[in-house]
Symmetry: C3
Subunit: 255 residues, 3 copies
Amino acid sequence: MKLIVAMSSLLLATVSQAQEAPRSAPAPSPDVKIVAPQLDTYTRELLFGDVWKRKELSPRDRSLVTLSSLLANGQSALMTGHLNLALDNGLLPKEISALITHLAFYTGWPNAMSAVGVAKAVFAQRGIQIATPSSEPASLLTPDAESEKHRRAAVAAATSGVAPDLGNYTNEVLFGDLWRQSDLTPRDRSLITMAALIARGQAEQLPFHLNRAMDSGLTREQAGEVVTHLAFYAGWPRAMSAVPVIKAVFESREK
Amino acid sequence: MKLIVAMSSLLLATVSQAQEAPRSAPAPSPDVKIVAPQLDTYTRELLFGDVWKRKELSPRDRSLVTLSSLLANGQSALMTGHLNLALDNGLLPKEISALITHLAFYTGWPNAMSAVGVAKAVFAQRGIQIATPSSEPASLLTPDAESEKHRRAAVAAATSGVAPDLGNYTNEVLFGDLWRQSDLTPRDRSLITMAALIARGQAEQLPFHLNRAMDSGLTREQAGEVVTHLAFYAGWPRAMSAVPVIKAVFESREK
Amino acid sequence: MKLIVAMSSLLLATVSQAQEAPRSAPAPSPDVKIVAPQLDTYTRELLFGDVWKRKELSPRDRSLVTLSSLLANGQSALMTGHLNLALDNGLLPKEISALITHLAFYTGWPNAMSAVGVAKAVFAQRGIQIATPSSEPASLLTPDAESEKHRRAAVAAATSGVAPDLGNYTNEVLFGDLWRQSDLTPRDRSLITMAALIARGQAEQLPFHLNRAMDSGLTREQAGEVVTHLAFYAGWPRAMSAVPVIKAVFESREK
């Protein structure tokens, strides 16, 4: 099949970069072959056989990005398989809890509430228990004072005269508390925020978070691979609309 | 916990403005505490303990905004609790019917159809019957003739050469019939339209409807609070993208 | 009822253009009348009684557009009735498979996977079997060499320095393989891509696909009717945001 030829050339291009496959190899539902055989082929050979194995992002990062896209678009019904895959790929249960909590703020409470129900079933099936937070004060991460000062002032200026208390919540709770929680690294928080923004079609808010992600260690190659991965999970147009925004951020960092 | 400290300062800022809590206090599902304990804390202390109690919008208005956001984003599975809360907050069953009908036009028929199924179960459980419209001519509201003339002409101009019948449906059905129904006030129709636009990420269409809302009595403070409330239900980025659009409308009205 | 009067004038305007109704007349769920009687009236008289009967698009095209909108917005729960209607309107089962496969790329794999489950049940109920692709090389359509050369170069330029492999997937798989499959005509692929873009609120990517659709035979009148139809399925704001983009494309083609 010519499809195979075209795809093989892509596979050849990446085969030398292949890394160990995730422990549980994902596979499409048997229904896909019955209803849309070509989609089954694409899913096996292209998505799971090629994209997920590319070395530009680790399987754990791909799981963070995939779960963020599913949650962001309210596709919790499809999270069961990907939560199991994420755990197999090394994501910790407490990191999944933190992802759901973080994305409640970035994609709205209802999406997080739907994800809670699915995660509960997966955790129960695997015998996972999430520890209750202790009554001790949590040790919060300390952001860079100078950049935090600028960020706070920018938020206050943006919201003044319209929604000053939205600015207060942003400064006191979102950045003053959520982002400082230590159950996800700042780099991972930036990664899932970026993924949610791209998946929801809000590339206009990407520059701040992409810069923040790169300040926390995300490489250019990884940023490009996030958008490549998301083409498959949020659709080509969402990815393609993010590309010029990312390009502009890369260029602005060279100056 | 530092979270509590940060949030308490917000609570302190608003506690003097607190008004009577809605009759049925909303609470997160017990699953939230099991899966994501910190999200449970945020939900109890921040969302239900603080945001819903802020005086800038009445509980009834918050229910209108929340239901609109859920319907607009196809999150009907989460509407059961919020329909009950809305009825407890004083929203009339016929107003809920009108909201679903209105948002069929503004967010698409499928979202409205999903909401119908959920509302039917809630209405049945509470013994609510919606009256069939009489065969008498409904008394329609009469819009201001001058502004209506301008609106009609703008719609006709925008759609001419591309989709003139979309212009006709807009003028004859959407504004000529739906907006003139008396089962929701014009101010409430504007409020739910604004909420749906922000929740769906279509801030570009907000100026017309925000101006219309303010012409019908929505205050600046209420408009700002709509976007603050929606940060929690549709996610921070949707709210933050709406803020500069709202600011520009406020400024344009000062001239 | 004044509603009826206003709508009748629309009906009168189009009645002379009416064509044969689709074989199975669609009807709203009986729940709609119970919960929101006016929405029931709009659905019967306006959506099914008028819009679906307009001659500017064939019933088969309307089914392609409607299914694309539902899939694009993750509304697979509502696809059962519309899949049956689509088959009644002459859409072939293999075309439905191809639509689901195509929109996996354009709206993300998860939406396609959800649609697979619904389509499987509809196909099973109607005794439809989708043939497995033969192991013979599929005969792929051959795109125009000159325009394909420009398209490839534009994709490579857009993605270079950010996500070059997203460019490769776009050129080798999306356009090099998916678009060349013969189970949907290029005109139909463009139609469903346009519908998905409008339904997802991504009018910014419409010019390329609208031009491609018109190069494949979509008329201006049909393009305008796609957006009119989508006003009802994806909501008025999505349609209205697409109108100026379509107008600009029409104008650019006159030069």
